[in-house]
């Protein structure tokens, strides 16, 4: 399926890109004091927005969406809408309140709001689980792209990619390099959009705005013999569409590494406006991603290559690269796409593994197991956890259970079923207490876990709670559980309620 020889251009380009981001990172570190203490104003809201976007864009955005669109047409737009519309929820319900609350990791918030170490530990476990699932999807993307670059089988490519990723993370961490988020965003978006324009041009569609040009490709498909592909409910029922879309939206608003972004924002007002910029920058990619899928379909239709079943599924997650190759754009441009995908995946796993390891070493090891641990011990535990997590992810990615976007969606379902209700009620209802929070988290974890079981164990359950979309019904259930349990148990302390009323909701 994949060429046998090493492709030199992408390999060299990859080394170059990793080198550049390392050097820029070191430069940023050298001026760190100035960079951070001068705070947001020097970067501006637009810059923070770019940071939000670069933090967000992973292999799921870069490879995943085009892949699902190629496979499932209109159904894939549930991913596009879920991952953008979630920011509206985040902004209007949470952003400035979380900024005022002043706690930036999920466990930090949970302990401060619910005044319970047990709740904190539970939310740390959830954070780690979300990181693991999310990382599996990234590893799959890395494995596929490395396989494409070096012409080797998925398993070997995955091992190679994992080794490169881990050494890059540890090396960058050892040097103390920080990532320049704005540069990172610029690199990602350019490496995604420019090749897309070339693909549109080569296939004879409107290339200056391929986001509109792919409409013609869809039109051609619908007039040809692929009308079903363009129809709305060919690949999923309206219920499935809405359940998936809703799940991704609430998951976005509850995702730990999205929430902790507000840490660098100087004040609540800037937090609000930077979300708008972030959404715009993310939108640039999401307007465009389906185009790769549509162009790939259009090319197949022209060459009467209507691939079926397993072939299509195997192609889907690297359809971005395939679309480039099929359309016949220069090899170095396809290489740019491949490197962009790897950069997106690398930066995402860096963030996730670091926050996962932090959650373990601080929230679980230090707070629960060994409260006497000093900084050095905690660092050692964090490093060890990073390695353990990376190994677990690798095992999970050897036989990826689905498409990149689907695996990622499961992480969102977990976040939507647990952390979203926790933040929502924690901010908007002072009466929510630790008992409600703990009961809610356990219910949410059970619902997500049950949705992953094979269908025959709980008949009918999967129809209402699809694995990728369990939060449409799950999140409301968790909210009800939290409310009922909170009302049956004593109210939280006056101190935290006062803080909520006077600080978090102040104008």
């Amino acid at each position: 399926m994949i060429g046998e020889s090493v492709k030199m251009t992408p390999a060299v380009l990859l080394l170059l890109a990793l080198g550049i981001s390392l050097i820029v990172g070191l430069y940023a570190r050298a001026r760190k004091g100035e960079y951070y203490l001068g705070t947001g104003h020097s970067i501006g809201r637009m810059g923070i927005g770019a940071a939000i976007a670069s933090n967000w864009m992973s292999a799921a955005s870069f490879l995943g969406i085009a892949g699902v669109f190629y496979l499932q047409g209109y159904f894939a737009l549930a991913y596009v809408i879920g991952w953008t519309g979630g920011y509206v929820l985040l902004l209007i319900l949470m952003a400035s309140q979380i900024r005022r609350f002043g706690r930036y990791t999920a466990p930090d918030f949970v302990e401060a709001r619910y005044e319970s170490t047990a709740a904190r530990v539970l939310s740390a476990v959830i954070t780690i689980l979300i990181s693991l699932v999310y990382c599996i999807a990234q590893y799959k993307g890395i494995g596929l792209v490395f396989g494409w670059i070096f012409g080797i089988d998925y398993t070997y490519a995955l091992l190679l990619g994992a080794v490169v990723a881990l050494s890059y993370i540890l090396f960058a961490g050892y040097l103390g390099a920080t990532r320049n988020q704005q540069l990172h965003y610029a690199m990602l978006i350019v490496s995604f959009l420019v090749p897309l324009m070339f693909v549109a041009y080569k296939l004879g569609y409107f290339w200056p705005l391929p986001q509109l040009g792919y409409g013609q490709a869809l039109q051609d498909l619908s007039l040809g013999n692929m009308r079903e592909y363009v129809s709305p409910w060919t690949f999923g029922t309206p219920f499935e569409w809405i359940a998936l879309c809703f799940t991704l939206m609430v998951g976005t608003a509850g995702l730990p590494h999205v929430l902790s972004r507000f840490y660098t924002v100087p004040n609540p007002r800037d937090a609000r406006w930077s979300v708008l910029w972030g959404l715009f920058f993310i939108g640039l990619l999401y307007w465009s991603a389906p185009a790769y899928g549509a162009f790939a379909r259009a090319w197949e239709a022209r060459h009467t290559l209507a691939a079926d079943g397993d072939d299509v599924t195997a192609l889907a997650d690297i359809i971005v690269l395939k679309a480039g190759e099929w359309a016949g754009i220069p090899e170095w441009l396809v290489a740019v796409l491949a490197v962009g995908a790897i950069l997106a995946a690398f930066s995402t796993i860096t963030g996730l593994l670091v926050s996962g390891a932090g959650a373990f070493s601080y929230d679980i090891y230090y707070r629960l197991i060994n409260p006497k641990a000093d900084d050095r011990q905690r660092m050692a535990v964090a490093r060890g956890t990073t390695l353990v997590l990376a190994m677990l992810v690798l095992i999970g990615a050897l036989n990826p259970p689905g498409l990149i976007a689907q695996i990622t969606a499961v992480a969102f379902a977990l976040a939507g079923n647990t952390l979203f209700p926790l933040f929502l009620l924690g901010i908007w209802w002072d009466r929510t207490n630790k008992f409600g929070a703990i009961a809610g988290m356990i219910t949410g974890m059970c619902i997500t876990a049950a949705s992953l079981l094979p269908g025959h164990i709980l008949p009918g359950f999967n129809a209402l709670f699809p694995p990728t979309s369990s939060a449409l019904i799950g999140a409301p259930i968790v909210i009800v559980v939290m409310i009922v349990v909170s009302l049956l148990t004593p109210a939280p302390s006056l101190k935290i309620r006062r803080f909520l009323a006077e600080q978090v909701h102040k104008y």
Partner: protein, 108 residues
């Protein structure tokens, strides 16, 4: 209700999305309600409309036959226009909250 800390009678720390207490919060919650309604209607309402107007099981109907800017209408609305709407909703929210905050008297 809270035995361990004395509650001063004049103070009320209740926070409830459905029962906003201060004038500022009431206005803000009204804005949020309006935007949430718009968000849900645009996202899920349009899918409902597609279902209602469908003439075939696959969902084809008048809304999928017409096209806008060369894109089949349902793809244009969901894949292109909705994202724009989301950005617009964020813009409306931010300008309204900015205005609300400006008109409030400064408080310690």
């Amino acid at each position: 209700m809270i035995p361990d800390e004395p509650q001063r009678p004049s103070e009320d720390f209740r926070v409830n999305f459905f029962r906003p207490r201060s004038d500022y919060m009431r206005r803000k919650v009204h804005t949020i309600w309006g935007l949430l309604a718009a968000w849900a209607l645009l996202t899920f309402g349009f899918q409902g409309l597609l279902v209602l107007s469908a003439e075939e099981v696959s969902g084809d109907g008048p809304l999928t036959r017409i096209s806008l800017l060369g894109i089949p209408f349902h793809h244009w609305f969901t894949g292109q226009f909705l994202i724009l709407c989301f950005i617009l909703l964020c813009y409306i929210f931010n300008t309204r909250v900015d205005r609300l905050t400006r008109t409030q008297p400064k408080r310690k």
